[in-house]
Amino acid sequence: MKAGHSQAMFFQSRAAEKVRNPVLQKALQKAKPLFSGKRAKSMAALPDDGLEFEQLRDACAGIRDRALTDLDVWLEIFEDNARARGAEVLWARDGDEICKLVIDVAQRHGVRKVTKSKSMLSEEAQLNEALAAAGIEPVETDLGEYIIQLAGEAPSHIIAPAVHKSLEEVEALFAKTHGRPQEERTSADIPALTREARGVLRQHFLSADMGISGANFLIAESGTAALVTNEGNGRMVTTLPKLHVVITGIEKVVPTLEDFATLMRLLPRSATGQTISNYVSLLTGTRSEEEVEGPTKTVFILVDNGRASLVGSAYQEMLRCIRCGACMNHCPVYFSLGGHAYGWVYPGPMGSVLTPLYTGIENALDLPHASTGCRQCSSVCPVRIPLPDLMHGLREIQHERGLRPWGERLGLRAWAWLATRPALYRALTRLAARYLNWLADGSGRIRIFGFAPGWTAARDLPVAGNRTFFEQYAARKRD
């Protein structure tokens, strides 16, 4: 598979830069307790509604599994029902095909401006660049997406795309783009900045010829796209222009409205800690004769881009993902780096699994290893994706394909060779203990250790003494 625009191979150097960026670190430090705190609070309140987290996750995982087991069947049912309601259904194999289909639809309808509600698929396809190259202006209307579009950046989080940006950076961007002098701002000014963006975006909503949105779910039984949003821009994008294009992954299909309702018990709670998001839109077909609003043409673009290859594989569980962001919101690595270090569209634990699978295992060697194995992600995942186990599986594939560095391979083999020879192992560890103790020089710690330069770059290596346990234990037994 091709790497596309993935920068995941530069993970190490990007990480080095991100941990040393004080503005980013401050933004992450501020966001972390908000994300985890809000989720924890809403989960703790589940019993008030007669609900229980573990049971709900079983139900949600079960719904996703049922859809994935017969994915082709549910997609066909969706397609039939969507067409019956007047929508067009197109299929895209990869990002290039998404761009081609969208531009083709746009050109056929003389579209010059497109308003967009958040869509990670359009990031997979780098659709904005393609639209601009075709002379069509794309305008991101989710506030966070709008900010990063102005900054010329990619989202760093799947539900909070501008979480890495500080208030000062946003103020500077708005002042420059909206043509006004820059001001001193505090968090009390956030509503004013939001109103400012809203004023600008309103003009775009009214003048756009086409709206592009993603879909949180596709509901097969009714041919419906379900959209879960908070800002209201999603409604504008999907109802004001005459033409609405929905771009979403083929794995997003669920059989029934009832299934969707169950998933909604956990999606907003896992994502933002809300019992329900401000807007939940169910978009079915085109405007009928007695309706006064809504598009006269709806086009679904259902995308593979690597997904079909996971069906029936050891990684099918990853397709359960409902894009809530809880895994990254509870990831110590994500909150040390932000999302950009991961190098492709999806950051955090879900990205560490998806990026290698979608862009090539050999193109994202660090991602499955850049994890402490803490399992916080899998303990919060609303659809029980065993993210650490999937990352582990990718580590095994790297090993099998000889993609691990020779130093690591040799070191482990030497270690295992020694560890299966207890007498030799005892002798060498006795020597090692003396060596470490000599390096510590009576201080109880080593400050620079050539065998673990990374370790001692940031911390001391505590040393307890010059004799191993087994040496001391043998001596005690002799006494």
Partner: protein, 243 residues
Amino acid sequence: MRIALYVTCLVDLMRPSVAFAALRLLEATGNDVVVPPAQTCCGQPAWSSGNRPLAATLAQKAIAELEGYDAVVVPSGSCAEQIVKVYPQLFTDDPVWGPRARALAGRTHELTAFLAEVAGLEAVPGEFAGSVTYHDSCKGLRGLGIKAQPRALLARVKGLSLQEMGECEECCGFGGAFAENYADISARIVDRKCDSIAAAGADAVVGGDLGCLLNIEGRLRRRGDEKTRVLHVAEVLAGEVKA
């Protein structure tokens, strides 16, 4: 009951007092305690790197030398998890090693879980004049459900008071080879842990996994904190703490 103590390679080399403390505690349960002499490493580094065959080789060695006991006790959540959770995965379809791995997994316990739940240890020998804050190591906590056991045991240590830190269940950033291979990220994570420890203001931070403790102690000292003691829960419970 004949109990085998699995010392772990890290304790053997870096902090022998943890194993002596574990011995003392296990002997206090009134059982026969043996230290199988040929034990070395459980194979976790090989497993974490993705080298399944090597992990299986080391697992077979450990299974063969540990399966003859009524119980195997490990003073580490992560090594215990390796035996309890990973060994059976290594031999899922193996007709010989599969049953042996599963049998060993069923008899293997993390130290505090064994003391609190299996042996029902009432009185602990340790005394500690001061406050401690407890760091929940990830593999023990989320892998084996170790949470209440160490706290229940620590509550019986004379003189000790528990002062919980914020985000005590948050990873310390150790992660085995992760700390070396992704040193920048690991340092950032352990810094947050050190902030939580500093905010708790206890005399000592206590945990059940030496890897995490070396990481935390190393970073605290590098930050200039010479005061906060970093202790394994076995050392505190057994009174193997030098004044």
